[in-house]
């Protein structure tokens, strides 16, 4: 009996947290994931940054000023955080929302009234508003600190495209509740595409594109039609905006974001105070 308790004590001693930690860190699974081990030296820290697909987008070293809130406002980071929040909440909303004339409006209403955690859609909506604001403030900070100047001019342009994509995501998402506000806002907004040079049926130059008497660019063959999938905001527009909002634009934005972050590193990290 005493023998068994002694052996039990010995086993428990062997299972002390430090020993368990050692055992885990020596296991092949752990070593296959964290190849460098505990980053306790500059060399190891650098290897960690270079060896991780996520961290390698980030600079190995950041200037002290680069993490000062008063300099960066952390607006780029907040924008990215909000993008992740919107991707996650948007994915959850997609489980309930159907982009058809019959269901779109009632699905949005039911998301609030019939689904637990009815504020999910509000989180998505407020997050979207916050992201637009954060993008503008980020751009304002970058401009005021002169961070658009060489060698960062390429990244500024990537950022401008990301700004446009953010606004387009906001615009396409606005139609999805399919209420009067949404329909008329998109009607008004998409009317701008009528005036596209050559590609819009009321735009400059489109009258020149004629085949005899038949205009090639009419209200069923112009840029606005391609956007709406119809002559007015209807079923085709709802589906097209849904696809653009949920797949097309986030895909392009994610791709450009990877370039944007990687470029910060390549262009010498976050700019320093002037």
């Amino acid at each position: 009996m005493a023998n068994i308790t002694d052996r039990l004590k010995e086993t428990l001693k062997a299972l002390s947290p430090a020993k368990v930690g050692e055992y885990i860190q020596d296991s092949q699974i752990y070593r296959s994931i964290f190849r460098v081990g505990v980053p306790d030296s500059d060399r190891k820290r650098m290897l960690v940054m270079l060896g991780s697909v996520f961290l390698h987008l980030h600079p190995v070293k950041v200037r002290k000023s680069g993490i000062r809130m008063r300099y960066t406002w952390c607006m780029g980071g907040i924008t990215f955080f909000l993008f992740l929040v919107l991707t996650f909440t948007g994915l959850l909303l997609m489980f309930y929302y159907r982009p058809t004339l019959e269901y779109a409006y009632v699905d949005i209403r039911d998301l609030r009234e019939q689904v637990p955690l009815g504020i999910m859609r509000e989180i998505h909506r407020w997050g979207a508003h916050a992201m637009v604001i954060a993008v503008w403030l980020h751009m304002y900070r970058v401009f005021m600190t002169g961070s658009y100047k060489p060698p960062r001019e390429f990244n500024w342009n990537v950022g401008v495209i990301l700004l446009v994509l953010t606004l387009l995501l906001s615009f396409t998402g606005y139609l999805l509740p399919w209420d009067q506000l949404a329909i008329w806002a998109i009607t008004v907004g998409s009317n701008m595409a009528r005036a596209t040079p050559f590609a819009g049926h009321e735009g400059p130059g489109s009258a020149l594109l004629k085949l005899g008497d038949i205009p090639l660019v009419n209200n069923a063959s112009d840029a606005r039609f391609a956007l709406l999938g119809g002559r007015f905001v209807g079923e085709g527009a709802l589906l097209r905006f849904y696809v653009l909002h949920c797949v097309g634009l986030p895909l392009v934005a994610g791709f450009l974001m990877a370039i944007h972050f990687w470029r910060i590193r390549r262009d010498g990290g976050i700019s320093g105070p002037l």
């Binding site: 008329w184 009607t187 008004v188 009317n191 391609a226 999938g229 119809g230």
Partner: protein, 195 residues
Amino acid sequence: MSKEDSAAPSTTAAPPPAAPKPTAPKATAPPAKAVVPRRSFISWMTLAWAAFTASMLAAATATTRFMFPNVLFEPPPTFKAGFPDEIQIGQVDERFKQKFAVWLVRDNNGIYALSTVCTHLGCTPNWLEAEQKFKCPCHGSGYYKSGINFEGPTPRPLERYAISLADDGQILVDKSRKFQYEKGEWDNPASFLKL
């Protein structure tokens, strides 16, 4: 300077001893099968690139065309709007507003078909019978019964559609043809049904 000048020709003039040329195994190598000559190889590459570019352009064109469906599930551009007698003189007929976005208005001379799309930003105005005007709820643009604008931010009058009588005596409205007042198109007889 002069010394070097005089000395230079003597050194350069002397031809360097010819290096022994490596004897290439040209004659001994067996002829490769189906050798593409250099000159025709370039023309083959040109053809290949041209074909590749053409196929890419065709794919891009077809993909663009994919966004324009052949069939639209929208109301047809022409519709029959009943007999002229059903509309009284001075009346704004709102029966076709919901489905076809058209008002039929009859004055002393005949009937015209007004578009219900506000020329400011594309909302749908309301006909206010008491005030005898079209009033847009979005930004407050106002139009007379004729369709001509008189208040609010709108820059131009409402548009009129082609209107005629069908064979069976009913009013026929063609929404694919529109007439704008500011272009003088309301003088066109197709924009007005004389009665």
